[in-house]
């Protein structure tokens, strides 16, 4: 209860501070403000993917359905954050670059993450049986894991990026105004906390659902 309230207040207060107290980056003008929501969403999409893949590998090793719960819940939430990052990024791209979608390396990589989530969840929904679903989707997740470093490596080499880290971070992270940096990292922590809180809720729901199913099956067995 206390943790939840703290999280809520933390995000609320830092959102207000980020919008009113922190200055704008000159090169980005008013669009600076998307930074406090877009980058945390993008970061959580990647974090959730890593979390999901890590638990998939753990499932293949230990064969405990708790790992599968973590993997699937992280993928579902990751997809939501990933859609948020894609849409906010696309709107920002329209404002700054003049088009919603241009296959910039960042756009390509977020699209790729979106694609993995989509394929993973579509695959899950079409497999019957808890064990089999857990096993096969973990196999797929592990295979998709292999592609990630290659994509990070090849995409920037083939396409040229206009994404603004080079603009904000020329010569390291020194030139960013400290107020922007503080609000940004505070919100990054806040949204990461939000993700893990939502994740724990989802995992608990999955666990309860499985227990109900087991009870139902038992009851049906004793009635027959």
């Amino acid at each position: 209860m206390i943790a939840r309230t703290t999280l809520f207040l933390w995000i609320a207060v830092w959102t207000v501070l980020a919008l009113l107290w922190a200055p704008l980056v000159p090169a980005l003008a008013e669009t600076t403000r998307v930074l406090y929501f877009h980058i945390p969403a993008a970061w959580i999409s990647v974090l959730a993917l890593a979390w999901s893949m890590g638990h998939s590998l753990a499932y293949l090793k230990r064969r405990r359905l708790e790992h599968d719960d973590q993997a699937s819940a992280a993928a579902e939430l990751g997809l939501v954050f990933c859609i948020g990052a894609t849409i906010s990024g696309s709107l920002w791209a329209k404002a700054m670059w003049g088009s919603y979608w241009n296959w910039d390396p960042r756009e390509t990589s977020i699209f790729f993450v979106l694609l993995i989530y989509g394929a993973y969840l579509a695959l899950r929904s079409s497999i019957e049986g808890d064990e089999r679903r857990a096993r096969l989707s973990a196999v797929y997740s592990a295979a998709a894991f292999v592609t990630v470093p290659f994509l990070m490596f090849i995409v920037p080499r083939i396409y040229f990026s206009l994404h603004p880290d080079p603009i904000i971070n020329t010569g390291g992270k020194i030139q960013m105004d400290p107020r922007i940096r503080i609000s940004f990292f505070a919100l990054l922590i806040g949204f990461t906390g939000l993700f893990f809180w939502m994740l724990s809720l989802r995992v608990r729901v999955l666990r309860v659902a499985r227990r109900f199913e087991a009870v139902d099956a038992e009851r049906a067995g004793s009635a027959a």
Partner: protein, 223 residues
């Protein structure tokens, strides 16, 4: 525990069995060839000859190959499930030799498919002659990566409800890096630019996928 030699023998036997059962009906190869030619015709008919646009040609070539592969490479596993022969097959060999045998078959299958599609493509699209050594190298490495990814996903997909319908979409994330590298390499060999980076990347990707596959094949079937 099977010895190393017996695993190789089993994989070899699976490959021979696949070839034989494919040769008896030729159903898979016929439909794949027909599909490839259909895609090729659609592409060629829609854009006409474009000998001077090798950048577009490189992309179209890989789109045709990708479509042909996606339409046919899950077939080896789906056939076992639909014919109810998978259980029997699994009694005769372990998971890894079965999957390796099927991977070799898919590689061969893709080779035959390209033997027909690629020359036809070059002729129909009026492509300038490629640097044969580099071109064939890119084709071989790209096909190896394609077959490796498709075999692993095909084995997973065969156990789902959607099967064929899901195969293309679920394979796509694994195929995107190879598609990007293969297209850029094909483009580079036509315009005379160096392709070593892309070739190395394709080789590394194939090896990484193969290594992951060999570790994962064991988990494909259990129940």
């Amino acid at each position: 525990m099977p010895t190393r030699e017996s695993s190789f023998a089993a994989a070899w036997a699976i490959l021979r069995k696949e070839c034989r059962s494919e040769w008896r009906t030729r159903y898979g190869l016929n439909s794949a060839l027909l599909f490839a030619v259909t895609t090729l015709t659609a592409v060629s008919f829609a854009v006409g000859r474009m000998g001077d646009r090798t950048d577009v040609l490189a992309a179209l070539l890989w789109v045709v190959i990708l479509f042909a592969a996606l339409a046919s490479l899950a077939h080896t596993f789906v056939r076992e499930v639909e014919g109810h022969t998978l259980t029997l097959l699994r009694l005769t060999a372990a998971a890894t030799p079965i999957a390796v045998g099927k991977l070799l078959f898919n590689l061969l299958f893709l080779g035959v498919l390209e033997l027909v599609t690629v020359p036809l493509f070059l002729i129909l699209m009026g492509a300038p002659p490629p640097h044969w050594g580099l071109f064939l190298g890119v084709l071989a490495l790209g096909s190896a990566a394609l077959a490796t990814a498709a075999t692993l996903v095909g084995a997973v997909i065969a156990q789902t409800r959607g099967r064929g319908a899901l195969f293309a979409g679920v394979s796509l994330p694994l195929l995107l890096p190879l598609l990007a590298a293969a297209v850029s390499a094909t483009r580079a060999q036509w315009s005379g630019n160096p392709v070593t980076f892309e070739l190395r990347l394709l080789a590394a990707y194939t090896l990484a996928l193969l290594a992951a596959s060999l570790l994962l094949y064991d988990h494909l079937w259990e129940d």
